[in-house]
């Protein structure tokens, strides 16, 4: 079975490294970017199987990414948003834009892994 490629966009170096390590250990191929501009460039080059993205990022926020993907690139790939601002308004606007899942910080890497697996299964196996 071909390994699934994930794009992880997170500006916090330590958390990003930790999550990448955890995801890679579980068999995913992870492309790590630290800001919105790099993420946009990455998406233009190659579309991953799923995206894990922090909402608050330099240049390009997570919500803008969802909007860009769904409306401009017309892509339906699973997007999981991570944010430390877990207020109701944020979550609702993320889902309204077309995000598939939302996780509030602090994040449990194991839980994230489970959610990624569920989203990939739902999108690629159905």
């Amino acid at each position: 079975m071909k390994t699934k490629e994930l794009l992880l966009a997170e500006d916090d170096l330590m958390l990003a490294t930790l999550l990448r390590y955890r995801l890679e250990k579980s068999g995913y191929q992870v492309v790590l970017v630290h800001d919105g501009r790099a993420m946009k460039e990455g998406l233009e080059q190659k579309m991953p199987h799923a995206i894990i993205c922090d909402v608050m990022m330099p240049y390009f926020s997570g919500i803008e990414l969802v909007d860009y993907l769904r409306n401009e690139l017309s892509s339906n790939i699973p997007i999981i948003l991570i944010s430390s601002a877990s207020n109701e308004e944020n979550i609702i606007s993320a889902f309204n834009m077309g995000a598939n899942d939302f996780m509030a910080k602090p994040v449990s890497p194991t839980e994230l892994l489970a959610r990624v697996g569920k989203e990939l299964n739902r999108y690629y196996c159905t």
């Binding site: 916090d12 170096l13 330590m14 958390l15 490294t17 930790l18 990448r20 390590y21 955890r22 250990k25 430390s84 910080k105 602090p106 994040v107 449990s108 890497p109 194991t110 839980e111």
Partner: protein, 696 residues
């Protein structure tokens, strides 16, 4: 000459300073050099900081995968990964010898623990201890700088180093406020029972902000079962009591009703307010009496909160108290709150009256009342054609107006005035009556005019006004009186009962009169407060011995009081003594039982024993009527008509019949009077000492 000397003489301190022009270039070079040094220093330090930042960042990047490896390492991992893990451990041990590196690792772990949750976080805490970084935090606790100590406490709490609990608890009573605050949060964060330890040991004040932070820290726990915070309501530290009250409220522990109610009497306003909040939240309706009792001793802020609580818990029984507040209270905010409380209990009791647009009816009313005003001060003598002259037949030009002479016979004046008012100002009188009854019912106005008027005059006014009303007006008038029955209207009601043609109105008047007599609650009299208070209190508190007994500290004085109660006591003392039987120790019980039996015998022979409700309804109302009599006729005119009435006199008026009381007491005292004194051990010891001194 003199002038020219003064004019051309140079004054040193106002002359132009001499600049050494040769040194100008030197100074220029000096300032340029200083500028260069400044810019070079800025450049060097900035570069140094940048290099440090880049270095730290690269260290972070270098350490991130190592820490990730440590955090997600498992014994089930493949051999290659196991090998890598061991190598990394050796590598990091070497790095950890450097103090700077240890600091970087600590920072990484602290940052990371904010972003991760679940099992990863627990593994991170474990890693922190495995790397021995907690020893650095311990070392910080020994620093003389408060900020370093506070940082150490914070690190230990964040990294959940439970072993540090005892060390941290030492800082709970630290004289440095910030260290103390950090220790308080740390102790709560470390263990579930940390709050118990904090409440038990802290002797310093805990600020309101800190209290909120502590409550927030407790909320972070999963599956937290809070202790019974009511245990700390008796703490000597007021802030602990306050925190305990807030925690009780936060965790909905409503089993400490008595303690919380008791705290409403606390001297500290904050504790009072917290206790009131608890009472409101938990609906402790039993605290209503205490709320009313402490009201007059409280500050305005507390009064408002008390009224808020009464609005929530109170019922119609609280209305007399609230009316008293409305009449007595000076503070505008409290007064307004009391009014809104009345409306909260019985909606629309008080209607808006200020800044209202005047309608035609209002204007008419106003003009009529204005026109009526002179009538109260002046007497109009009407020359009418016949005895029962209709209104239209009166010739206004024939009215002669002159000032009242006070010494004139009031009856004559009244009759003339009544004759005068009757045709002209029927609406004004009606409105005034309605206003009076409304105001009296609300306790807003102490009806000065009404008080000054003779009762018979008022009656005649009312009767004459009533006679001129239409059927609809009469119905409305009686309905108004039925809403707020008032004892002062009983005469008018009696008149209506006797003279009204319409049977329905007669019956309504009878009904209102019956209710008025039942309630017997005059609104403005000062006695009302006493009666209401008396009705609220249990019967035993009516005894004059109650308060004296409360202040007795030793058994002998208590015995003496019980014996005195036996001699002069009546129904109230009987209840008081029965209450003592339940609460007092066995040593006093024989004396109490003896007193009860003597008083019971006396009551059976003389005054019949009433139950508590009967006492409140009959005895108090009886007392009230006597008080009114005293007020109306004066003490010297109070004539006790027969023996049975003397027996019913309330205790306050017993002095009016001293002779009889003395006889009764003497009879009882003839039977058994003895005083028993016990000398204390100290007394004997003192006597022995003084003897020894004399002998020596």
């Amino acid at each position: 000459m003199y002038i020219s000397n003064i004019t051309y003489r140079s004054i040193s301190w106002i002359t132009v300073p001499k600049v050494p022009t040769d040194a100008l270039w030197t100074l220029t070079w000096l300032f340029v050099a200083l500028g260069v040094i400044y810019f070079v220093a800025v450049f060097v330090f900035k570069n140094k900081l940048n290099r440090h930042f880049i270095k730290t960042k690269s260290k972070h990047a270098q350490l991130a995968p190592i820490i990730s490896n440590f955090l997600f390492h498992s014994t089930e991992d493949p051999k290659e990964e196991q090998k890598e893990y061991v190598n990394l451990k050796i590598e990091i041990r070497e790095f950890l010898n450097s103090r700077r590196f240890r600091k970087i690792v600590s920072t990484i772990l602290f940052d990371l623990q904010k972003d991760v949750a679940g099992g990863t976080k627990e593994r991170l805490f474990k890693l922190y201890k495995e790397l021995g970084l907690h020893h650095d935090s311990y070392a910080k606790l020994n620093s003389w700088r408060w900020q370093t100590v506070a940082k150490g406490l914070n690190e230990l709490a964040q990294m959940q180093v439970e072993e540090s609990f005892q060390m941290i608890s030492k800082f709970l009573n630290d004289r440095r406020g910030l260290v103390r605050k950090q220790a308080e949060i740390a102790i709560i964060t470390l263990r579930h029972d940390g709050i118990n330890h904090l409440l038990d040991t802290t002797t310093y004040a805990i600020s309101e902000w800190q209290q909120l932070k502590l409550i927030e820290a407790l909320d972070q726990f999963d599956n937290y079962s809070p202790p019974k915070f009511s245990n700390w309501l008796i703490s000597q530290n007021n802030d602990v009591v306050l925190l305990a009250l807030r925690l009780i409220r936060h965790f909905n522990q409503n089993e400490a009703a008595k303690s919380i109610t008791q705290l409403v009497k606390h001297k500290d306003d904050e504790i009072k307010l917290a206790a009131i909040s608890c009472i409101k939240d938990f609906n402790f309706s039993g605290a209503l009496t205490t709320l009313k009792n402490v009201f007059w001793q409280s500050s305005d802020t507390v009064k408002i909160q008390l009224l808020d609580a009464i609005a929530l818990l109170g019922d119609s029984n609280s209305l007399p108290f609230l009316k008293l507040v409305v009449t007595e209270e000076q503070n505008f905010m409290v007064l307004t709150k009391a009014q809104s409380t009345i409306n909260a209990i019985v909606p629309e009791t008080i209607l808006p009256s200020k800044d209202l647009v005047e309608t035609k009816k209002d204007k008419k009313k106003k003009s009529s009342s204005k026109a009526q005003k002179p009538d109260l001060k002046k007497v109009g003598k009407v020359k009418s054609k016949g005895k029962n002259t209709p209104i239209n037949d009166i010739e206004v030009t024939e009215i002669e107006v002159y000032d009242i002479v006070k010494k004139e016979s009031p009856k004559e004046t009244v009759i003339e005035e009544a004759t005068f008012i009757e045709p002209e100002f029927e609406i004004g009188v009606l409105d005034e009556m309605l206003d009076q009854s409304m105001n009296a019912s609300l306790g807003l106005v102490a009806t000065v005019e009404g008080d000054n008027q003779e009762p018979s005059q008022t009656k005649l006014d009312n009767v004459s006004a009533y006679k001129n009303m239409s059927f609809e007006e009469r119905t409305k008038f009686i309905n108004t009186m039925a809403e707020v029955p008032d004892a002062r209207e009983s005469e008018l009601l009696e008149y209506i009962m006797e003279n009204e043609v319409d049977a329905e109105l007669r019956f309504q008047a009878f009904d209102v009169l019956k209710r008025t007599k039942q309630e017997q609650t005059p609104k403005i009299d000062e006695i009302e407060g006493l009666v209401n208070q008396a009705q609220i209190l249990p019967l035993k508190y009516h005894s004059i011995f109650f308060e004296l007994y409360e202040h007795c500290s030793d058994l002998d004085s208590k015995k003496l009081l019980i014996r005195e109660a036996m001699f002069i006591g009546d129904l109230k003392e009987l209840h008081f003594l029965k209450g003592l039987l339940e609460s007092e120790p066995n040593a006093l019980k024989p004396a109490i039982i003896e007193s009860i039996s003597v008083i019971e015998n006396r009551c059976e022979n003389g005054i019949s024993i009433l139950d508590e409700a009967e006492f409140q309804n009959q005895d108090l109302s009886h007392g009230l009527s006597h008080t009114q009599k005293v007020k109306k006729k004066g003490v010297e005119q109070l004539v006790i008509e027969n023996e049975t009435e003397i027996d019913k006199l309330p205790l306050e008026f017993c002095f009016l019949n001293l002779e009889k009381e003395e006889e009764t007491v003497a009879k009882v005292m003839d039977t058994d009077i003895f005083f028993d004194f016990e000398l204390s051990k100290e007394f004997h010891a003192n006597v022995a000492k003084s003897k020894n001194r004399i002998e020596n």
